[in-house]
């Protein structure tokens, strides 16, 4: 009989852990995804496709893309700035700032939405002033973008802070001593060395921005064809018993997520050598 090494686990243990993980993934992640596509295609692909042509659905898809298109670039810029400040500088209150970056992860999205209603809503702090100047934030695009930005803020910063902490300040200092300006240092030294982490953060941020339900639900007002994003539209359709239409939109959302994941895996595979070179010391 073969003896086991001291650091080797019991084979039964290994088998059990693997089995549990695989069943969990199938049961909780894969099956629901398959169900979504199955329900969407229940009455044929033509039927599902037709429901996507509904003006309200098209409007929801458009609104989702517009929201992501505004929120993701802004949060990318803020995230890089925040990660830069936290990892490369020492200042008073740094640990508090770091804790605040995580806030959107720990606060319920519904509360995030409510905050904006309390500030910008008709009865809110700035409500009367906004009404006087005919500016609509709540139940309109600005509110949806704000709520989405709140919820998706940590993704880029969270991804970059450990990476930039790990890389330290040496390369930036070297660049400066060689005569580089701040911008040159950022674009030629910092950005290239964080670009994979940044890309990953942006993809995650984008996935969440398009999928956010809770916070957006509070500020959107659910006006069909105007302020419904895709996740909200799925709920509206479902509550109307339009199951094929609801699952068709849900399937499009799921597809977007799958495209994001595939893109990330493809890039990791395509640039594996370069990624390894950057991470090795």
């Amino acid at each position: 009989m073969r003896t086991r090494g001291a650091t080797e686990d019991h084979p039964l243990m290994r088998w059990l852990l693997t089995a549990v993980t695989i069943s969990f993934v199938i049961l909780f992640l894969l099956l629901p995804l398959i169900t979504v596509f199955a329900a969407a295609l229940e009455k044929g692909i033509a039927m599902a496709w037709n429901t996507l042509g509904d003006p309200d659905t098209i409007s929801a898809i458009e609104l989702t893309f517009i929201t992501a298109l505004i929120a993701v670039p802004l949060n990318t810029a803020f995230g890089v700035a925040a990660a830069w400040a936290v990892s490369k500088y020492d200042f008073r209150g740094k640990s508090i700032l770091t804790a605040f970056i995580d806030l959107p992860f720990s606060v319920s999205p519904v509360i995030a939405g409510l905050i904006y209603v309390l500030i910008f809503g008709l009865q809110g702090w700035m409500g009367p002033w906004l009404r006087e100047h005919d500016i609509k934030i709540i139940f309109a695009l600005p509110g949806i973008v704000l709520a989405t930005m709140f919820v998706t803020f940590p993704f880029v910063a969270r991804e970059l802070i450990p990476l930039m902490n790990d890389q330290g300040r040496d390369e930036e200092e070297a660049a400066m001593s060689l005569g580089a300006s701040g911008l040159q240092t950022f674009f030629r030294v910092t950005l290239p060395s964080i670009k994979w982490g940044l890309l990953y953060g942006v993809l995650l941020c984008n996935a969440r921005a398009m999928g956010e339900f809770g916070a957006v639900s509070v500020v959107s007002g659910h006006i069909r064809g105007q302020t419904n994003t895709m996740p909200l539209h799925v709920e509206v359709l479902y509550n109307d018993y339009q199951f094929v239409a609801a699952f068709a939109v849900a399937a499009v959302l799921a597809l977007l997520a799958l495209v994001t994941l595939t893109l990330k895996s493809f890039l990791e595979w395509r640039y594996a050598d370069e990624i390894a070179a950057v991470h090795r010391h």
């Binding site: 390369e171 660049a175 001593s177 060689l178 005569g179 040159q184 030629r188 370069e274 090795r280």
Partner: protein, 243 residues
């Protein structure tokens, strides 16, 4: 054209004194070692000379210019870091060319000139033909020579080395310091070299400043410092190393 450091002080955030009035004069082209235990302030002094840290009070004049008034990026002080600080996403050649390629168009050499300069520098640091490698594909000693070539590419007015051989094994250390000294003699650049290894300091430098708790305990030629230690600390520090 000499370097005159006068009463430089520096406190860290939190109040601990890093430098408590450091003064030092070095003639143009000198090779000065700042020697001391960790926490003695030698690296802080070096970083102030390089513009990576700022003095609270005191002055530095170099080549009759108020050196501390010159922004770091305009000082042309070639800085070499203990952990190399090479740009890991760039090839060796790109690393060396960096200081030239970022110059504004009017003062930037042509592509061909930069390529030629990189080739010369690679030869100078004995790394011919390795220009296409990435830093992660080189040994520690090779990386530090790339870092040196990168610093030399900008034709520095002063060379600042922060424990450059600290991360290398003893044999490579010895080879590199002999080579560095020869390089210094050939180029004649004023060089400040930080180390905690007294044997290294004495072997390589014209002048040694022994530092302790933010002060210079003794400053002079290696033989003088070795033969006649000024203070109990110097005696102890050198004695401990020799034993």
């Amino acid at each position: 054209m000499s370097l005159v450091i006068d009463s430089v002080t520096k406190r860290f955030r939190g109040g601990a004194a890093a430098l408590q009035g450091v003064s030092l004069t070095a003639p143009q082209g000198a090779f000065v070692a700042l020697l001391g235990p960790s926490g003695s302030g030698k690296t802080t002094l070096l970083r102030i000379l390089g513009g990576l840290d700022f003095a609270d009070t005191g002055s530095v004049r170099f080549a009759d210019v108020n050196w501390l008034g010159v922004p770091a990026r305009e000082r042309k002080a070639g800085f070499v870091f203990q952990h190399y600080a090479l740009f890991r996403h760039m090839t060796v050649a790109k690393n060396i060319a960096f200081g030239l390629e970022i110059r504004p168009r009017r003062s930037r050499p042509s592509k061909a000139d930069i390529a030629l300069r990189v080739k010369e520098l690679l030869a100078l640091v004995q790394l011919d033909g390795l220009g296409d490698r990435y830093p992660s594909q080189l040994s520690g000693g090779q990386r530090q020579r790339v870092a040196l070539a990168r610093a030399l590419a900008i034709e520095p007015r002063m060379l600042l080395l922060d424990e450059p051989f600290g991360a290398l094994d003893a044999k490579v250390r010895k080879e590199l310091r002999v080579w560095l000294r020869a390089l210094h003699d050939k180029m004649g650049i004023t060089t400040i070299f930080v180390t905690h290894d007294q044997e290294e300091a004495f072997a390589v430098a014209d002048l040694v400043a022994v530092m302790n708790q933010g002060r210079i305990e003794q400053y002079g030629q290696p033989e003088t410092v070795k033969r006649a230690p000024n203070t109990a600390f110097v005696q102890d520090f050198i004695g401990a190393g020799a034993a």
